[in-house]
Amino acid sequence: MPLQTDGMVVRNRRLRSCYFMLGIYCPPISDQIKAGQFVMLKVSDNPSLLLRRPFSVYKSYSLTHPHKRKRGHLFILYKKVGGGTERMTTLRKGQKVDLIGPLGNGFALPPLPSSANCVLIGGGVGIVSLYPLAEALEGTKLVVLIGGKTRNDILGVEDFRKLHSTILTATEDGSLGAQGTVVDLFVSKAKQFKKNEEYYIYACGPVPMLRALAGNVKSKKFICQVSLEARMGCGFGACWGCVVKTKQAKTPYQRVCQEGPVFRMEDIVWE
């Protein structure tokens, strides 16, 4: 259940170019958050930056985690894109931050056998919500496709590697891995997929990427979940500001924060 609570900044470091890692000590949230859920962070007390910002959680450590020093911590990998995230970069160790979480439905995770084919597809900071998912899927036949504009936008490779997954990268400028988008990479990889096997696809990234992917996973052998990004008002279902159009007849506009952020690919109307 979501709660509003204070956390304490334990680190806030630039990873490279415009990407940062914010670590927060916040046991009430880190202890219960699941893969694909998110938090709403108040980035400033200044009312000119009024709304909270939604962030996926990259890593979180429960209070029973074997590494004692990591217990109660959660980490947000974020990209500096505007006034709010710029303010976030000024957060310092020891500062208090106001969080609401965990929010939304995470990925649906039926128990999968070790023979299951799992393909994670992340564009840019989209990999953030996929990392905890990869942890949950460790032990399956896990392939992670990571895409970005340039090599600077390819994030998380070292972390995913530790989970014994196969990692493939694509950059639009060709500076790392295959040249093209991560969806192009998926399409070429899918040619090697076995005809009579099912593939569990999990994707997160900007809408154009997911829309492009939607056109390429229509075969019945793909069981595809997508985690959506959206501008949000509250994050907890009150304002109906973050909706996405779905094929649900009665209520086509569903809330990304409440019914999502993870949806079945086939339920979304990609406009």
């Binding site: 259940m1 979501p2 709660l3 509003q4 108040k42 009312p47 000119s48 930056l49 009024l50 709304l51 909270r52 106001d98 609401i100 959206a230 501008r231 949000m232 008002g233 509250c234 907890f236 279902g237 009150a238 304002c239 109906w240 500001g241 973050c242 909706v243 996405v244 159009k245 009665k250 209520t251 086509p252 506009y253």
Partner: protein, 304 residues
Amino acid sequence: MEECDLTVRIGKMTLKNPVVASSGTFGFGEEFEEFFDPSRLGAIITKGISLKPMAGNPPPRIFETVGGIINSIGLQNPGFQEFLRNKLPYCKGLKTHLIINFFGNTQTEYVELGRRFNDVAGISGLEMNISCPNVKRSGIVFGTDPQMAYRLVKAVRKSTTLTLIVKLSPNVTDIALMAKSVEEGGADAVSLVNTFRALAVNIHTKKPELGNIIGGLSGPAIKPVALRMVWEVGQAVSIPVIGMGGIMNAEDAIEFILVGASAVQIGTANLVNPKTGIEVIRGIKKYLIQNRIDRVEELIGTFG
């Protein structure tokens, strides 16, 4: 802690405190129960209900501006029947006044809804939305023409004995005139202000930031204008005024009470800090004690 009397009267309702959750920012109450008990508020006002379900506007529906947000939700709601079936049972169980915000496309629809809600148990009051900027053909016509507003309120008044609050649009030349018209029509109270019609432009795409192009601006950015309007209306009418517009804390709420509001609504702030209502109640109480005022009603309209 010393005791002070926070009760205020709005029509037939006696609110245990003057802090009310505003329509469209509080869902149907249940979204907030993880954060605090909504029963502690003076009243809650539901999301706007129409006769038939409404799908709402295409996204994006929300955009942050300096000190405010522009929204174009478009009155998405499950409609009267579905509300009764799925949402009312929870709202009704709360130990506070339940006020239903409603709207129609025509006078007939407004009257029909007034009549239907009148027969539903567990409802204390109705807030008529004659002012949503986000839906074509809807309230805005009623909300900007004093004569039409008068006729509409008069007709709805006959359909219900519940406390009838009319929510006013700030997108008019003379809001005091609008308030007087709906008072003459038989409103028990007015609430103001709804959002200001607004636009946000993306210079990179050269497109609007909202799917509906136009939205409504709320938040601290509108507070000074809202205060002025509440003050003007308070002087013009003798029915209670419920003030709102960018209230983020108790100080803001007290400003509205001083200029003439009998109660205040918390809107946008609920989205940012879901516990705002509770903090405002606590802050008003503290202010009364510090200033040796026994009853919040003594504070209303004492500005100037």
